[in-house]
Amino acid sequence: MLNIDIREVLRYLGYRGIRETDPGLAALIESCMADVQKACSPRSVCRSFPLEKVTDNECVFAGLQVKSRNLAKNLRSCTEVVMMAVTIGSGTDQLIRRAELTNVLQAYVYQAVGAAACEALAEEVDQTIRQEALSRGLYARPRFSPGYGDLSLEMQLDFERILQMRKIAGISLNESLLMTPTKSVTAIIGLSPEPRECHKAGCEECTLAGNCPYSRV
């Protein structure tokens, strides 16, 4: 069972600053959450690599030379890099496709619940990595994904190849580098010997901040 946060579901549904929902809607969300839990077949893959070099705008690891100021900033002082990919599987995509035929609202709620479920899975894997690193005296930086800030989405191709994403996790890329199952996440987590109380990530780092209806900030 994934620990799906209902507040995240509401955020994906476009609710901001409100926790009361209509009882009919609350029942729909609840039943969609149960369906998504049942349809989930979570898979993940991660591998860690030494961070060979990091400058202001470039990081070198896993045989890659990644040009990105934002990622370089995120990985400053790190010595290791974990590449991860997770997916809740294609079951939720099927639920969405089915609901699209009969009830758009339900499709929309499945969409939101699926996103929250995938986030929960990513968080779970993230925590495992965090704990394992801590046992070796390393501190994990916030997750950073291709497409965040100036990190190119092209990096999805490196994830696919290096993590054998398709074979191990069942995640495929299409020509536009979008993932199938759609409820999948790829991310980089830097590990550093220096503790840093900074969990700035996601929305806070996004170029759309302030413009996005789903923003946390």
């Binding site: 549904l13 476009g14 609710y15 901001r16 409100i18 929902t21 209509d22 009919g24 809607l25 077949s41 991660c46 591998r47 860690s48 690599f49 030494p50 896993a62 045989g63 294609s90 995509d93 099927q94 969405i96 496709r97 089915r98 699209e100 035929l101 009969t102 009830n103 758009v104 609202l105 499709a107 929309y108 709620v109 969409q111 497409g147 989405l153 490196d158 190849r161 290096i162 398709r166 074979k167 069942g170 495929s172 299409n174 020509e175 536009s176 580098l177 979008l178 199938t180 759609t182 759309l208 413009n211 996005c212 209806p213 789903y214």
Partner: protein, 806 residues
């Protein structure tokens, strides 16, 4: 010299080789480097590896061709395949093992097939065919399709092999510990599909170690009639300093493999992490174990990509509603290419309890083969139920069989020689469970003897075409008792004799029996019960009928086919379960009360604002008794919608509520529309909506569609991943003034820009509004859109502006 592999396979122990990639990494292959390139750069290392496996005792070894295809190696695939086979031949000679077989090793393409991904089935077949043709002409002895995790891609590979070579084909798939392939296929489903396609042996490899594979191997042996091959990894992978390592050594591996040998498999080897040392030990150990040949099994199995339905476990319900016969709305949907309607008919039957869906999409005025392909592929995207392809058009049948992801049921063949000659070769090629109607050139025999004789003829024809008898299901046919009261007993006797004398399976369309009589469901449901007691395996019926399902579930409970009555209690144990307790249909209708109706004192306006669909439509119905529909729409419905829309724009109401209100308004509209059926409503205008090429997110676009429709627009929804040309052509064909484009990713906004450019060029009077998560006003301006709509309501407002002057 080498014996024909087919002579040895399944008759003696045969051994495969072990890991290749993991050993090449030890020799210096980099993480991201493609091993097939080493055929040119490091041929000596590849050859030595082959030799060491041959010396270890491998009888079948894989040429270094696993990942070769023109997607990964454009322009050099042929050369690399040739090099790989040449190296393999050299190794065979050097090792003095001319008796060994070179397998052309075939792996996944690396791309996901349509409709989930963007590689077409035909293209996949083509990619595989290219490698296989070269491999076969260079001298490969067999085709080894392995590490497959998607049944659809596996089917493409097997078809490519069968259509382009005569070589033996062996297929091994990857399963996880729960016994599922990545795309959801079970062992039962994979075995049935592969045997249907005519593979020479099948099994599993990779993913798991021998210990984890044990239970799955047992299931495979239980289900498979062809020889079973087990090639596990050396345990489960572990990551160590960025490298993947496997921990199970040769002794431990062999110990586990010996246990698997005892299950009755016919061939074994290894996969990732296994080495020549592992294979040496396995060969040594297996030589001491008596060999068991593969035993033919008698399971009649219909499968989808994920689900296997086995006949005889309990009567199988084949839902009959995807069929235009006598259905005006369905015919209209076929003519209008309204696939969504057809799919919704499938989903409804699935909810009601169907096990298999019959698919009949034949109408004289449509292109049935194309429709069959579309409906089959689209149904596979929304349901895991297996399908029964129901057509008399041989091209439509071939299209259905080819693009079906699994082993379909085929409806039907009969005793006519001509029909046998058309249908059976297709079933032989693609696999399938074939329905045989007991009629021939002389019509339908009046007696059970006559019908059984035709069944006998169909069985014998199947023998000639090499279709196993277990894959024939006899339809005893039922004529209406209104013209001949003995009709039902002849049918039932036919069912009984096929079951008892032939140990065969039968199918019946149970509703014909009552044709011409009143209260047909009474007759049909009792007939179903009677047929089941005679041993009926498949019933073609309407699962949406409460009475039929009640008869079915009662029958299972009474005949001991519903352990502890779990199914019965699940269906009828709830307080609100759909049951037949009323005495007349009028009472039945009034008994269906929605909870919403309890909310007294609500107006139509407030019902829409609250999003209460059932109430909105019943209040509309009431209102229509005393007032003009247009007046109600303008004075109550539209203001209610507007109020919700404004709330949404101000941020006091959120999207889900907006959608709920839209749904309620739609239901009320439908009532009004039905009332004014004679005077068609004026539409405010026609708008195209589409998610642009490259993008697969269409929920936002769908929400926009719902809102626009609610506000009285005719919306043409072109779907997702739509090429610019399609959008432009549609705008021209339908003279559309406003196009709405959606894109979710920065990378796909390019597709949006391209569409706008092409529209400006070919149909300059079109206005374009754009929306989607990454879009902003600046972005919209940059790509030359006329309007940026930040949400669904904004599209409505803009459309109203555009069409105000019309």
């Amino acid at each position: 010299m080498r014996k024909d592999l087919r002579e040895r396979l399944g008759k003696e122990w045969l051994f495969f080789d072990g890991g290749m990639g993991s050993l090449l990494q030890e020799k210096g292959l980099k993480g991201g480097e493609l091993p097939e390139r080493w055929n040119l750069t490091h041929p000596d290392i590849i050859r030595e590896l082959h030799e060491s496996y041959l010396r270890a005792g491998s009888d079948i070894f894989n040429a270094n061709t696993f990942g070769l295809n023109s997607l990964k190696f454009p322009g050099e695939t042929g050369e690399l395949v040739k090099a790989a086979i040449r190296i393999a031949k050299e190794a065979r000679t050097a090792a003095g093992r001319e008796d060994a077989y070179i397998a052309l090793d075939i792996g996944p393409t690396g791309k996901l097939l349509e409709p989930m991904g963007d590689l077409s089935f035909d293209r996949a077949v083509e990619l595989y065919a290219e490698v296989m043709k070269t491999g076969a002409s260079e001298g490969a002895d067999l085709i080894m399709i392995e590490t497959m995790s998607d049944t659809y891609e596996t089917k493409a590979a097997v078809l490519a092999a069968k259509e382009n070579t005569d070589l033996p084909v062996i297929v091994t798939c990857v399963f996880d510990e729960k016994g599922k392939m990545l795309t959801g296929g079970t062992v039962d489903a994979a075995v049935a599909m592969l045997e249907g396609l005519g593979v020479d042996a099948l099994g599993m490899n990779c993913g798991l170690g021998p210990v984890q594979m044990y239970a799955l191997a047992a299931r495979m042996v239980e289900r498979a009639s062809v020889p079973v091959v087990i090639n596990p990894n050396a345990g489960l992978p572990r990551s160590e300093n960025g490298r993947t390592v496997y921990d199970v050594g040769p002794d431990e591996f062999t110990e586990a493999m010996v246990k698997i040998a005892g299950l009755g498999i016919q061939a074994a080897g290894g996969c990732c992490g296994t080495t020549p040392a592992h294979i040496t030990k396995v060969v040594e150990a297996f030589r001491k174990i008596p060999f068991t040949p593969a035993v033919p099994k008698n399971h009649t199995v219909v499968t989808s990509f994920s689900t296997a339905v086995t006949a005889g476990e309990k009567p199988v319900i084949v839902g009959e509603r995807i069929n235009p016969t006598g259905k005006k709305k369905f015919k209209e949907a076929l003519r209008a290419n309204d696939i969504d309607y057809i799919l919704s008919q499938g989903l409804e039957q699935e909810e009601a309890g169907a096990d298999i869906l019959d698919v009949n999409v034949g109408l004289p005025e449509i292109d049935e083969p194309a429709m069959m392909k579309t409906v089959v592929t689209r149904l596979q995207g929304v349901t895991g139920l297996p399908l029964q392809l129901d057509t008399t058009d041989m091209q439509a049948l071939e299209q259905g069989l080819r693009y079906y992801n699994g082993k379909a049921m085929v409806n039907s063949v009969n005793g006519k020689d001509e029909v046998i000659g058309q249908v059976m070769p297709l079933v032989k090629k693609y696999g399938g469970v074939l329905v045989g109607l007991t009629l021939d050139e002389n019509g339908i025999p009046d007696t059970a003897e006559g019908r059984v004789a035709i069944a006998e003829k169909i069985y014998q024809a199947a023998d000639r075409y090499g279709i196993p008898r277990k894959d024939i299901v006899i339809d005893g046919l039922c004529l209406t008792i209104s013209s001949d009261t003995s009709a039902a007993s002849v049918t039932l006797e036919t069912v009984r004799r096929i079951r008892e004398d032939y140990n065969g399976h039968t199918i019946l369309g149970v509703s014909n029996v009552s044709f011409g009589l009143p209260q047909r469901q009474m007759i049909n449901s009792t007939f179903l019960t009677m047929a089941v007691t005679k041993g009926l395996s498949f019933a073609i019926m309407n699962p949406n009928s409460l009475q039929m399902m009640a008869a079915y579930r009662t029958c299972l409970a009474l005949s001991g086919q519903d352990p502890q009555c779990v199914g019965f209690i699940e269906a009828y144990g709830r307080e609100d379960a759909p049951v037949l307790t009323v005495t007349s249909s009028a009472a039945d209708a009034s008994a269906v009360k929605t909870k919403e109706q309890g909310k007294a004192g609500m107006t139509l306006t407030s019902a829409i604002e609250k999003g209460l669909t059932g109430l909105a439509s019943s209040l509309m119905k009431e209102a229509l008794q005393n007032a003009d529909p247009l007046q109600i729409i303008n004075e109550q419905l539209i203001p209610a919608l507007d109020k919700v829309g404004q709330g949404f724009e101000k941020g006091t109401i959120f999207l889900p509520q907006l959608l709920m209100s839209a749904d309620a308004a739609k239901a009320a509209f439908e009532e009004a529309k039905a009332f004014m059926a004679d005077s068609p409503q004026d539409k405010k205008g026609t708008i195209i909506v589409a998610t642009v090429k490259g993008d697969i997110h269409d929920i936002g676009k769908n929400i926009v569609k719902v809102m626009l429709e609610n506000y009285g627009y005719d919306v043409i929804d072109l779907g997702k991943d739509v090429p610019p040309e399609t959008i432009v052509q549609c705008a021209i064909d339908h003279k559309v003034r406003l196009v709405g484009l959606s894109a979710l990713m920065t990378t796909t906004v390019v597709g949006m820009e391209e569409t706008i450019r092409l529209l400006r060029e070919k149909k300059p009077d079109t206005l374009v509004m754009v929306g989607g998560a990454v879009l902003t006003q600046e972005y919209a301006d940059m790509i030359g859109a006329d309007h940026y709509a930040k949400d669904a309501m904004a599209t409505v407002r803009y459309a109203d502006e555009v069409f105000a002057d019309a």
